[in-house]
Subunit: 287 residues, 2 copies
């Protein structure tokens, strides 16, 4: 899981998804090792420039690199027309489709689903309509235990059935339960992205037990009233959300430029929720 100033790339079982796309995102990606042309979908939290001005540049570059796979964009409705006008003018002859999906930021809803992943909106409170996104892996199949398969002489043709949970009946009619032939599936992981938002005391209800939470923390607590005024959060408030939700790990980000050294933000968060981390340009986190 990779984080940038105002764009993040989430990698799940080899698939790449982007959350937000501020100006300069494509330059950052070119410098990184991410195969960014593989990005399938972009989820935009809100229509402030630092979260979406990089989209047209990235789409235009995808075009020049010969992309053919459809790119899905999930964002508040107003971006649809603006983006389409830009594409019509700047990206003539684009050889892939940009499919726009309008997102209702006011309610929790599944906006994307495939075999292995569900993405849900998380309503947030900012100066314009804003939502976060919750990525939840689906439970995977159990892993075949090769030794046991050999031991019971089970033919390869049966592997898929057994992965899906079937038991095995041997030549003597004895039933070997699936648990003896397989090992547990990988734990399904989850990641929540909450930016930008003021402090929402009951936000934790949407985030219970997620493995990793990114929550904006624009200010330290001496600027709590400013945070309130501009619909941003303090590091302490982010930590309160993390603690109430019982998340595994809290990532802090979207720091005000006034903080040359963000360690005060980290300290304030850690005093509430110990497993807190600062994020910065180019950082990579595993869930």
């Amino acid at each position: 899981m990779r984080h940038y100033a105002s764009s993040q790339v989430v990698e799940i079982r080899g698939k790449l998804f982007m959350i937000d796309c501020g100006e300069g995102t494509q330059m950052q990606l070119r410098r990184s090792k991410i195969r960014f042309t593989k990005i399938q979908a972009v989820f935009i939290s809100h229509l402030h420039g630092d979260h979406c001005f990089g989209l047209i540049g990235m789409i235009s570059t995808f075009g020049m690199l010969g992309r053919v796979a459809t790119l899905h964009v999930y964002a508040p409705a107003e971006l649809g027309e603006i983006l389409q006008n830009q594409i019509n003018f700047f990206c003539q002859g684009l050889e892939f489709k940009v499919e726009f999906h309008s997102v209702d930021t006011t309610k929790k809803a599944v906006v994307y689903e495939d075999r292995s992943l569900i993405v849900e909106t998380i309503p947030l409170q900012h100066r314009v309509p804003t939502c976060g996104y919750l990525f939840r892996e689906k439970e995977g199949s159990r892993h075949i235990d090769r030794e046991m398969m050999n031991c019971y002489n089970i033919p390869i043709s049966q592997i898929n059935n057994i992965k899906e949970g079937a038991d095995w009946t041997d030549q003597d009619g004895k039933i070997i339960p699936n648990e003896k032939l397989t090992k547990p599936a990988d734990k399904a992981r989850s990641y929540a992205y909450c930016s930008d938002t003021k402090y929402i005391p009951n936000l934790y209800k949407s985030l219970e037990n997620v493995d990793m939470l990114y929550h904006e923390s624009t200010y330290a607590k001496d600027n709590e009233s400013r945070a309130n005024l501009y619909y941003h959060s303090t590091a302490e408030q982010a930590a309160h959300v993390a603690k109430a939700a019982g998340v595994g790990k809290l990532l802090l980000g979207h720091f005000s430029a006034r903080y040359e050294d963000e360690s005060c933000l980290l300290d304030e968060a850690k005093s509430i929720f110990a497993n807190s981390f600062l994020t910065n340009e180019g950082m990579v986190f595993d869930v």
Copy 2:
């Protein structure tokens, strides 16, 4: 004079002007020492993303930094509506005006003039309507020679007249010619920006004796046919223009990503026109 990947800032007698504004320009400027909020006008050569996608982000940032001075944008007409739509949506409550000036890329014309500077378009040939820009300082006033002023006892009230060229008549009625009281004005400098363009053999006629010429050189000569196909130039072609125009200095730029080391481009240019230089991110050139 400062150069970026797809944006340049020209400083003339304390005033700042920008030419082109690709994505990420504002980030580069923040890293530099340029007081970029002072930029008065932006001149866009053509409407390809790498030359104009950074404009809306810079305008939006100017707004957040509390700019009140009008920003003038000179560009091909179609940008007017696209930019205004973006400003209407993303920059509500902007406290400065963005004044759009549509530029005819097909002919040479003065598009900007003030007390000390004239900016002219230079028609170029690229895949979309494109023009370069020629910055010419006006001849300044001559400099007062303090010693001679004292020697002839000339009152301070006369300084402006003498700067503007007046002679002085002393108490005995003797005329002291202006040349004795002043030193020559600074040489009026000129800078021409030509990007993107295919090779135009008679382009030199618009560029005669400019002090510094920036001419794109996307390719080396082994790719001359590709340059032709995509309406770009080789380094050698840029140097031919510089030589025919008798410019002072040639700056090369807009290199294809295929060249890891651009010294082959420089060598090819120098074989035609010795006073050639490579440009790169963040470089500063004096005219």
